[in-house]
């Protein structure tokens, strides 16, 4: 173990954690505001190769490797780069496998162990790259390129992604498992790394990529549909502006009506209540009960709403009552003055009264019974009528005769 490297590495990680705020700010804004931090801190980070200045007169930026690390760990959507350089990695793998085999053959087991460690690292890097790339593509699809606003931009992004998928598929076709298996030969470790691990990763990646590709094409179709629809709407508006009196010809009256306009009229109406259905009795009763509560509710509401109006109406009603009452009084006085019997309806016709005859008779009876006892002694009341045809014991009053006792 290299003591120096260990020490420098620890210093670097400490520096990262000490200045995490600065680094995250640089990650989000893209550059560092040098005025906010002390020059010493900045210089330290530059020396540790955390920050760099791409060009004089340009603000400090994060090193791309650190940015990639953050993007990968945070699974940030900003990360849209796809490293499709699989061919290069494959070439490295082949070379290292050759090194390993040579060392084994020469019985240099220490060297062989180091080569195998390197090789393992590379194989896992390769599988990791593949799965990351696929995940990135999916994340773009799942939010439908939500990071760009307009449909046009989405279409461009979609085309870019399709290009990347094609690239990746091309690169994947560079996997030659027969060659790899030949290269691994009878070495168990090599075979495990080069054939089994790579193959399983290869299979999942190709499957997912073909899914990604079909999904991308589907999305592109949808975006194009959006564009088409927007154009249709705008075109229609323009057309209507130019020809405001435009009326499409009535396709509904053509002899051959297009299927689109053949929409049948609604025929179903609500069913009616069957009061004879015993099974419904409970529901119907509860419904009726409900109606009553609504009625009460409605009455109380109306009272509060139209108080002012009702007062006027009431005074009017009492006025007409008064008329009726005065007419009855006049009738009684007439009988007393003339000293002759007279029926209520006779007086009614003689004086051309306007009330309802029935109400008039009721009022006469009511007024008679409302007289003080001593006044009532002078008058006698005799109902004129006949017994009911059907119901025994009922007497129908048709008129009232009043006379002096």
């Amino acid at each position: 173990m290299n003591i120096n490297l260990l020490k420098t590495g620890t210093t670097l990680l400490n520096a990262l954690s000490n200045h995490s705020e600065l680094i995250m700010q640089a990650y989000f804004t893209g550059n560092v505001n040098e005025a906010e931090y002390s020059p010493k801190v900045i210089q330290n980070l530059i020396d540790l190769k955390v920050l760099w200045r791409p060009d004089a007169e340009v603000q400090l930026r994060l090193r791309p490797s650190l940015r990639t690390l953050l993007e990968e760990s945070l699974q940030d959507e900003h990360n849209r780069q796809i490293d499709a350089n699989i061919g290069n990695l494959l070439a490295t793998l082949t070379t290292q496998a050759e090194h390993y085999k040579e060392s084994i053959a020469n019985q240099r087991y220490h060297d062989a162990k180091a080569y195998l460690a390197d090789l393992t690292e590379h194989v896992y890097t390769l599988t990791e790259t593949l799965s990351t790339n696929v995940r990135l593509l999916w994340s773009r699809i799942s939010n439908e390129f939500g990071y760009v606003g307009s449909v046009d931009a989405k279409i461009r992004e979609n085309e870019l992604a399709q290009g990347q998928v094609t690239d990746m598929l091309n690169q994947l076709s560079m996997f030659r498992f027969d060659e790899l298996s030949q290269l691994a030969g009878s070495q168990r470790e090599l075979r495990h790394l080069l054939v089994i691990t790579l193959q399983s990763s290869f299979v999942t990646s190709t499957q997912e990529l073909s899914l990604v590709q079909s999904k991308l094409i589907e999305l592109l179709g949808r975006f194009r549909e959006f564009q088409g629809r927007t154009r249709l709407l705008k075109g229609f508006m323009l057309h209507m502006e130019q020809q405001p009196d435009f009326q499409p010809s009535n396709y509904g009256s053509l002899s051959d009506i297009p299927a689109l306009f053949n929409v049948a009229n609604p025929v179903i109406k609500q069913a009616a209540v069957d009061v004879n259905n015993v099974e419904h009795e409970f529901e119907l009763v509860s419904l009726v009960g409900h109606i009553r509560t609504i009625n009460r509710h409605w009455f109380s509401q109306e009272k509060t709403q139209s108080d002012a109006v009702r007062i006027e109406q009431e005074t009017e009603v009492t006025l007409s009552d008064d008329k009726l009452k005065m007419a009855v009084e006049g009738y009684f006085c007439d009988v007393i003055e003339s000293g002759q019997n007279m029926t209520a309806l006779e007086y009614y016709q003689k004086n051309d009264l306007e009330f309802d005859p029935e109400a008039w008779i009721y009022q006469v009876i009511g007024a008679y019974h409302g007289l003080p006892d001593q006044d009532r002694q002078y008058l006698e009341i005799d109902p004129i009528g006949r017994p009911d045809d059907i119901f025994i014991g009922n007497f129908l009053i048709t008129d009232i005769e009043i006379g002096l006792r």
């Binding site: 606003g149 307009s150 449909v151 959006f226 088409g228 629809r229 927007t230 154009r231 249709l232 709407l233 705008k234 075109g235 229609f236 508006m237 323009l238 057309h239 209507m240 009326q247 499409p248 010809s249 009535n250 396709y251 509904g252 009256s253 009506i257 297009p258 299927a259 689109l260 306009f261 053949n262 929409v263 049948a264 009229n265 609604p266 025929v267 179903i268």
Partner: protein
């Protein structure tokens, strides 16, 4: 007890456009060809057939045989739908532009009335356009306040079936398949009358770009 089939039949016979947003169960029921066949055989008794529009996203009942009465109804219905075209198209464009999504409304698009209202209130051009839209016969608003105009427009669109309001307590609306049906109608008119609407729009866009 009403079966799912009976429910779907009732929906179709009451003139509904069945789409996934409006009634997901009924829509799924109609996805199976066996169910479609049995529904069709029942509709046949009433001189009706099961039809689809918007690439199979919308189902509705249509006539099989067209007699005088049916023709009369279809003709008046066409007049109704063509009277919807202008107000709804204008409304669609306004919503699309105000929401800044660049995407035309389609089945399932969610519109939050509060968001739309705040955008329209802040932009006099939209407010003016809204006032114009609300005075179309379809909406028939006489209100001068933006809030009332907007609420009335949405209420009418729910009544006519272009939108649904899944939760009565919230001012959130979802577009139904009838919007897609309207797009189909627009496309049909465009093609039959040779209006070449898309080209016209494209010309206008490229002209503004040149300016």
């Amino acid at each position: 007890m009403i079966t799912e089939q009976g429910r779907v039949l009732e929906l179709l016979l009451s003139g509904e456009f069945i789409c996934q947003t409006k009634d997901e169960d009924a829509f799924r029921f109609l996805q199976s060809s066996a169910n479609r066949l049995s529904i069709e055989s029942q509709l046949q008794i009433l001189n009706r057939n099961l039809s689809t529009a918007a690439d199979g996203e919308v189902f509705f009942a249509s006539y099989i045989l067209l007699q005088e009465n049916e023709r009369k109804f279809l003709s008046s219905q066409f007049q109704e739908i063509s009277s919807h075209l202008m107000p709804v198209v204008e409304w669609l464009l306004m919503v699309q532009e105000a929401m800044g999504t660049d995407r035309p409304l389609t089945q399932g698009t969610v519109i939050r009335l509060n968001e739309l209202q705040s955008v329209v209130e802040d932009t006099p051009a939209y407010a003016e356009q809204l006032g114009k839209i609300s005075r179309y016969a379809l909406f028939g608003s006489k209100a001068a306040e933006l809030d009332a105009q907007l609420k009335l427009i949405f209420k009418r669109l729910v009544e006519v079936g272009y939108l649904i309001r899944p939760n009565q307590d919230k001012q959130i609306y979802t577009a139904t398949g009838k919007i897609d049906y309207l797009f189909d109608v627009l496309k049909f008119i465009d093609e039959t009358e040779n209006l070449s609407l898309s080209e016209r729009a494209e010309d206008a866009i490229s002209q503004t770009k040149l300016i």
